[in-house]
């Protein structure tokens, strides 16, 4: 048995090691240090009324969802109908965090862009997108440069945070919200928090 013919086997076993370990992880769940901690405070311009700002304190006393989205995010389109339906049911308010609308889009080079231009573009793109696909959000705020995203530890879009009456993050979902995990995971948690409050 020559060593070089064992190479494919070793590579395969290495791969299996990773896959096996991967099974113990949940790609949708995040070991976030923020769970059960107060959500990072922020003050950002609203998408519908950019002259007004929105911050955590305005949601105090309510259980709500913070959904990170962007028009360039393909997986957001997948979860969007689920969110629209959830919003219509009125069970829980959803606030949108529009994340790096312009500079996050791989097809746009926003490096030389003035912040005003970028903001104007972001507003237009985000509003267009919501008109096309429906608006599930009580309101959306614009995180143009992604700083609030960093505070929240956003890895990728979409992500959804469940925040309680005291402004603590109670759950975080990475990746699209599906009808299934809404029903099995999110809704029970929301109901539980609402009862507790």
């Amino acid at each position: 048995m020559k060593a070089k013919f064992l190479v494919p086997l070793f590579l395969f076993l290495l791969l299996i090691g990773f896959l096996g370990f991967g099974l113990t992880l949940n790609p949708r769940e995040v070991p976030s240090p923020l769970i059960d901690k107060p959500a990072p405070d922020f003050s950002l311009a609203r998408l519908d009324q950019p002259e007004q700002r929105f911050g955590l304190e305005q949601m105090r006393g309510q259980v709500w969802l913070l959904n990170v989205w962007a028009s360039w995010c393909v997986a957001c389109r997948q979860e969007h109908p689920v969110l629209v339906k959830l919003a219509r049911s009125g069970v829980v308010p959803i606030v949108g965090l529009n994340y790096k609308e312009v500079r996050g889009d791989g097809e746009i080079d926003a490096r030389g862009m003035a912040l005003e231009t970028e903001t104007a573009q972001a507003i237009e793109r985000a509003r267009d997108w919501l008109t096309r696909h429906g608006n599930p959000y009580q309101l959306s705020v614009m995180d143009i440069d992604g700083r609030v995203g960093i505070d929240f530890g956003v890895y990728g879009v979409p992500e959804t945070f469940l925040i309680d009456q005291q402004g603590r993050i109670r759950y975080k979902q990475i990746g699209p919200v599906t009808a299934e995990n809404l029903e099995q995971v999110l809704m029970p948690k929301i109901k539980e928090l609402q009862r507790a409050g």
Binding site: F18, K85, P176
Partner: protein
């Protein structure tokens, strides 16, 4: 009762699969005729039972038996019959049953069409296929029984995911699975060859038509899936480098390398150990694809049912099947070195070059697909790898593949002179560069990607035409019809598939560079001009489908005052799940599709309408169809049948002894 019969049939199929796995392999190593003879009836019996189980499940779906859990979750009494049937495989358990059924269908096909293969060899092939079958049927019975009851039964079913309620989804999974599973035949032949130590040209010749047939199914399956994404997901994209798509694309890439490598092994006896490795690899990636899609290890845009416990089982199966075969490879392959030698400039070199490149592309796609998992496992954070990575890797690696692809047929086996080939192909090369730049300039779209794509497409088309011309001139004097019939089907297959690649590249390049999109709000009576067409919005009516309610817009499409088509995009809400769906309307043409989808209704009563013009998108599908057609021609070559007939009496004689 019928679901129980199905369950029982599945258990019997497992027993037969065990027999088919064990007895022939033992018989082959002891040269015991009667043990080997079990293989064929066991395989055929297994097919009967698996098909029976499948029929039982289909019966439960058609009759809306909501006391079967799978039916209750994936069907509804209002679902149209066609989609009730689609529901059978539109879920995890049912798709596994489809997997098992395709496997036993392929196995039976081997028992029928490979009678000329020596008995010992065939017994090993069927034994290996039996092992795989045991794995999958056991997987189903242990973790994912499609016949699980829901007692008491549900009054109404939850309905099939509306995304899957589409004609494309009726044939996509069966085609794809026939492709995935078809590589198990190539795999079984390779393992059988390793076991027997018989690694000659005959093995490659037996295995070739099977491999090509599987590749044809996979090509068609991927194409249908991509076309489905294009018109059903409602935003006009046709490929997203999504993990589920990659899972089907990786075996395709390696399978492509495999069919070319088999050609060299058959004709020249070279690359034997490499061919075996590719056969193991192509099937391993099919299994890995099943694992990725079914285990939930990777998040995906089309993540359907996923479950880690099932993941563990498939992983164990992967370790057994692939681990053991790679161990066998490491043990036996050192004997396979050698074979025909060849010079640096030869057809072998181009084929080897392309094989290596395709394997590298496949590995890069695998890396990109699993990278988020690797980082996560190493605790380096969670990321997602998007299309930019895949495009950055894919384009530079596939460019030389396409260039080399056209050199191959011009070169002789063993060795050739650089001068001759360059002299023959230089005009085509220069012309394609000119055409590429010229067309991009004419389109006013001088980006490097457009230019590169157009140059490559021109290169493939020109070099193919020149190749055909040269081939037809070979027998000067003979009549055209006799010249045409003198060309073997395998050559036509090669030519058609390669030509299809050129057509495909034209489609991809032009869709990527000059497509146009306009979103606007419209109300009844509005007219819009876009991309040379006028769209007049007649209004929206509410209609009730069998299991959905829809708003259907009517838009008259006209050009220069002449009506072209009436487009009726819909926005549907499927009742059982309350899930909204966009149903785009298309006017399909040879040089462009006009694609209209209906967005939300605005509070003022206007509708958001999204208009797309997709130039040359049909060429993408046409290219895939040509590739698949090429495969069919190649697999149908008389050579395989003639040899089969010739060796049949010998096999029969051996049988009589």
């Amino acid at each position: 009762m019928i679901p129980e019969l199905g369950h029982f049939a599945l258990v019997l199929a497992l027993v037969l699969a065990l027999i088919q796995a064990v007895l022939p392999l033992v018989g082959a190593s002891r040269n015991n005729q009667s043990m080997m003879a079990v293989a064929r009836p066991a395989a055929q019996g297994q097919f009967v039972f698996v098909t029976f189980a499948f029929a039982c499940l289909t019966w439960a779906f058609i009759n809306s038996d909501f006391s079967v859990q799978l039916v209750a979750v994936n069907s509804n009494s209002d679902t149209p019959l066609m989609y009730k049937i689609t529901g059978v495989w539109g879920n995890h358990e049912g798709s596994l049953l489809l997997w098992a059924m395709s496997l036993s269908l392929w196995t039976v096909a081997v028992t029928v069409f490979s009678r000329h293969v020596p008995q010992v060899f065939l017994a090993r092939v069927l034994g290996v296929l039996g092992c795989i079958s045991v794995g999958f049927i056991a997987f189903m019975l242990v973790t994912s029984n499609p016949f699980d009851r829901l007692l008491p039964g549900a009054a109404e079913g939850r309905d099939l995911n509306p995304l899957l309620q589409d004609p494309g989804m009726i044939i996509h999974p069966p085609l794809l699975y026939m492709g995935y599973v078809g590589f198990s035949v190539a795999f079984a032949f390779a393992i059988s060859a390793l076991l027997s130590g018989r690694m000659d040209a005959a093995w490659a010749r037996w295995s070739r038509p099977w491999t090509i047939a599987a590749w044809v199914f996979l090509t068609a399956g991927i194409m249908v899936g991509s076309a489905w994404a294009y018109y059903e997901l409602g935003w006009g994209g046709w490929w997203f480098w999504d993990p589920v798509e990659n899972a089907s694309f990786m075996p395709w890439l390696l399978g492509t390398a495999l069919i070319h490598s088999l050609a060299v092994t058959e004709k020249r006896g070279a690359f034997r150990s490499w061919t075996v490795l590719l056969a193991i690899g192509a099937f391993s990636l099919s299994l890995l694809g099943t694992f990725l899609v079914r285990s939930g290890v990777i998040t995906s845009v089309h993540a359907f049912a996923t479950d880690p416990a099932r993941g563990m089982f498939i992983l164990a199966l992967l370790v057994l099947v692939i681990g053991v075969s790679l161990l066998l490879y490491a043990w036996r392959a050192p004997r396979l070195t050698g074979g025909g030698s060849f010079g640096l400039v030869s057809r072998e070199t181009t084929l080897l070059g392309n094989n290596v490149l395709l394997a590298v592309v496949s590995a890069s796609v695998l890396l990109g697909t699993l990278y988020p998992l690797f980082l996560d496992a190493l605790n380096l954070g969670k990321i997602s790898v998007g299309p930019p990575y895949f495009q950055a890797v894919f384009v530079p690696l596939m460019t030389p593949v396409v260039v080399l692809m056209m050199f191959g047929p011009y070169l002789r086996w063993k060795s050739d002179k650089v001068g001759t080939v360059v002299r023959r192909l230089a005009p085509a090369g220069i012309a394609s560069i000119a055409i590429g730049f010229g067309t991009a300039f004419a389109l006013d779209h001088l980006t490097w990607r457009t230019v590169l794509g157009l140059c490559l497409a021109a290169w493939v088309v020109l070099a193919s035409l020149q190749l055909l011309g040269g081939r037809l001139r070979e027998r000067a004097g003979a009549s055209m019809s006799s010249r045409l019939s003198a060309i073997p089907a395998a050559w036509w297959g090669m030519w058609t598939a390669h030509f299809g690649v050129g057509i495909f590249i034209i489609g991809v390049t032009l869709v990527g560079s000059i497509d146009a999109n306009l979103d606007l709000r419209m109300k009844a009576g509005d007219q819009a001009e876009f991309a040379g067409y006028s769209f007049s919005f007649k209004g929206v009516e509410r209609i009730a489908g069998p299991n959905y309610d829809a708003s259907r817009a009517t838009i008259d499409l006209s050009r220069d005052g002449k009506p072209v088509a009436v487009l009726e995009p819909e926005k549907r809400v499927y009742r059982a799940m309350g899930m909204p769906m966009t149903e785009a309307a298309l006017d399909i043409g040879p040089f462009r599709d006009v694609y209209v989808s209906l967005g939300e209704q605005l509070p003022e009563g206007d509708w958001v309408v999204s208009l797309h013009r997709k130039p040359f998108i049909s060429w993408i599908w046409a290219g895939c169809i040509l590739m698949a057609l090429g495969g069919i021609l190649a697999a149908a070559d008389r050579r395989y049948r003639r040899l089969a007939e010739r060796s049949a009496p010998a096999g029969a004689a051996q049988h009589a002894v």
